[in-house]
Symmetry: C2
Subunit: 389 residues, 2 copies
């Protein structure tokens, strides 16, 4: 078999459509696009304007030349310092990651936790905010990538907007796939990456901020040079970025926005991802495997399957080598105990069926007596019976 | 004319060779390379090993997913804080940029300056270091991109290595094109970018550090999360980067290293760039134009031409529109008064001749009575008479 053949069913990085690959190649048409030229200024403006719909916001969108992790740090160093307190709604590995950033900076953290696979209760946030009026910001992961659970962001936003605290959402692996209405729900900062449902290779982060967030940022001296958001806002009217932009990924992002629009818009993306999730969950159930997250909190972008019959990472290695399908594994406390099936971005119903076909073979090879084709059939059935697919 | 036709004779971004474009496209072969997989670990290791020769060092090379500017901030936030003092050898816009970063962080700066176009006297560095024993680090731009002047790094290194101060060199626009011997000269930190003579599109920065630098870094608590160099060193044995790497640019960098090796190695690159510089200077002189920098300090990667006959930026606009050649302009105090001709990376002798052919037409159109073909001929003559070309 071709050694390079590989179907990515990972929760990032994701398959990059040819349209985006080609759009990124436009960077080299001249053979190099000059980012100080009007052509690129126009592309950047069109891109950031088009990106607003991704966040369901009228606020400007900023593109950072850095990994998704940077957007999380950026939001924090622009809002709070060592004498400040924040709440982190942590429901898994990336909630802990937020805490790690906060601890690195020296910010005091009040953690509101749930078991991995479950989600935070907004009433807990209300109670902590009542008791701790000094809280400057509330952080919540939207889709927790390590588990595939989705925090009740709308409800948490409802609680936070009654206070002076700024509400920051890590939407890295939810954006585009999972409904998120920044303005309507009253979220203050959304941090996202391109390498998930936006279908881009890694390298940029996206951020957008409410006026409430900017007021807090104005009152705070940001210790970072590169991540000082005031610089980004000051550069906005010029049509430039404060530092050399990742030209190729901006071109790719614009194409991603065009593709989404052409395919029916952001609401159609939400429906499409929900369908892929539900096909996947139907198949997993049919194979007698255990889903980590309940239906009510299940992410449309990835699905976690609990593995108790073998070492999940050995299983993944075999799937990659023998079947050329790459599945995600468990992180942190769930390492070796989980398969994370990615179904975001450039994924269609047939891809889900292919995944189940391969998964069934892998399970058989591992000695798990699944009925061949059963997972596939369950997913197919869901697709046939649901008009939103 | 094809509106996309454009020959880049800029001091960055530069023309990206097809080999590198194709190497970057390997990122999408699967169609997406998984950076958590062994394949990428091997690529990253090969790339950083191959990159050592660029710095003429045995120290590990680190790849940051961020613009070149980040490497400058990174070096600073890892070495010094608000109570510390550094020296900055500033000879132009990017020396001032270093000062801007230092001021943002709150570091005390002792500036050793030269007029734009000239370079710093190492004896001045010696005198300041004698008087100010509290100096923690000395910063110097290697090639000052705003002027094309090259600081005497070897001589400054000789001065600094007798002290406890760490010597940091901004080699963003010099690396590969301008001789730099990190270990032999005793430089402690070199910061570089990919988008200059390394022939890559923007998006990554490269750094390498001496043991002396690491000792200083160990004693200092880095306030940045993303730019904490200790994290990079801790990740080194694992073959991973601490944050999602820019996969495409790592692939591109590896190909750049291969191309350089195949073309005769780094010393051959130094000779090649010196030839392109000298061809350019011969042509500029022949056209009766004024060179900003003296021969002894002239960068092999770009050449600044003083423009007193028209507004340089208007001239550039015309060159771009009518002749499809993009030239660099002046920055800061030299805005509108300079043409900066880039001749780094993927540039050959014929490109220089093309540039002069177009430049001569542009000058004529602007009313400057140059002899057509004269600049071209001077450059050609140099090439014929110099065996290193």
């Amino acid at each position: 078999m071709f050694s390079e053949k590989m179907d990515l069913r990972l929760p990032g990085p994701v398959q990059v459509p040819k349209e985006i690959q080609m759009a990124m190649l436009r960077t080299f048409d001249h053979p190099m696009m000059d980012y100080r030229n009007e052509e690129f200024q126009e592309i950047l403006k069109e891109t950031t304007d088009a990106s607003k719909i991704i966040f369901q916001t009228d606020n400007p969108v900023y593109v950072l030349t850095a990994s998704g992790a940077s957007a999380l740090e950026t939001s924090m160093v622009n809002l709070v310092g060592p004498s400040d307190t924040i709440i982190i709604c942590s429901i898994g590995y990336f909630g802990e990651y937020l805490t790690e950033i906060a601890e690195h900076i020296g910010v005091k953290v009040i953690k509101i936790e749930a078991s991995w696979g479950e989600t935070v209760d907004p009433e807990d946030v209300r109670n902590v905010l009542k008791k701790h009026t000094e809280v400057k910001a509330v952080y919540a992961t939207h889709c927790e990538t390590s588990t595939g659970a989705v925090n009740p962001i709308k409800e948490i936003a409802n609680v936070v907007k009654e206070t002076d605290a700024v509400f920051v959402v890590d939407a890295v692996s939810s954006i585009v796939g999972t409904p998120l209405y920044m303005d309507e729900w009253g979220i203050d900062i959304v941090a996202a990456g391109g390498q998930k449902a936006l279908m881009l290779p890694p390298g940029i982060a996206l951020m957008t901020l409410s006026e409430k967030a900017w007021s807090a940022i104005e009152r705070h001296q940001c210790p970072s040079f590169y991540f000082d958001l005031k610089k980004y806002r000051n550069f906005l009217p010029s049509g430039h970025t404060p530092y050399t932009p990742n030209i190729a990924l901006v071109n790719g992002l614009l194409e991603a926005c065009r593709m989404i629009r052409k395919a029916g818009g952001i609401e159609a993306e939400y429906r499409r991802h929900a369908c892929l999730r539900d096909m996947t969950r139907a198949g997993v159930r049919e194979l007698g495997l255990k889903l980590l997250v309940e239906d009510s909190a299940a992410s449309p972008t990835l699905t976690s399957v609990v593995v108790d019959f073998t070492d999940a990472d050995q299983f993944r290695k075999m799937m990659r080598k023998d079947l050329h399908v790459a599945l995600g594994g468990g992180l942190g406390q769930l390492k070796g105990k989980l398969l994370r099936l990615g179904h975001m971005g450039y994924t269609d119903a047939a891809d889900i069926l292919k995944m189940f076909g391969a998964l069934e073979l892998g399970l058989r090879r591992t000695g798990v007596n699944v009925e061949l084709g059963a997972g596939v059939a369950a997913a197919q059935k869901f697709w046939l019976e649901n008009p939103h697919c």
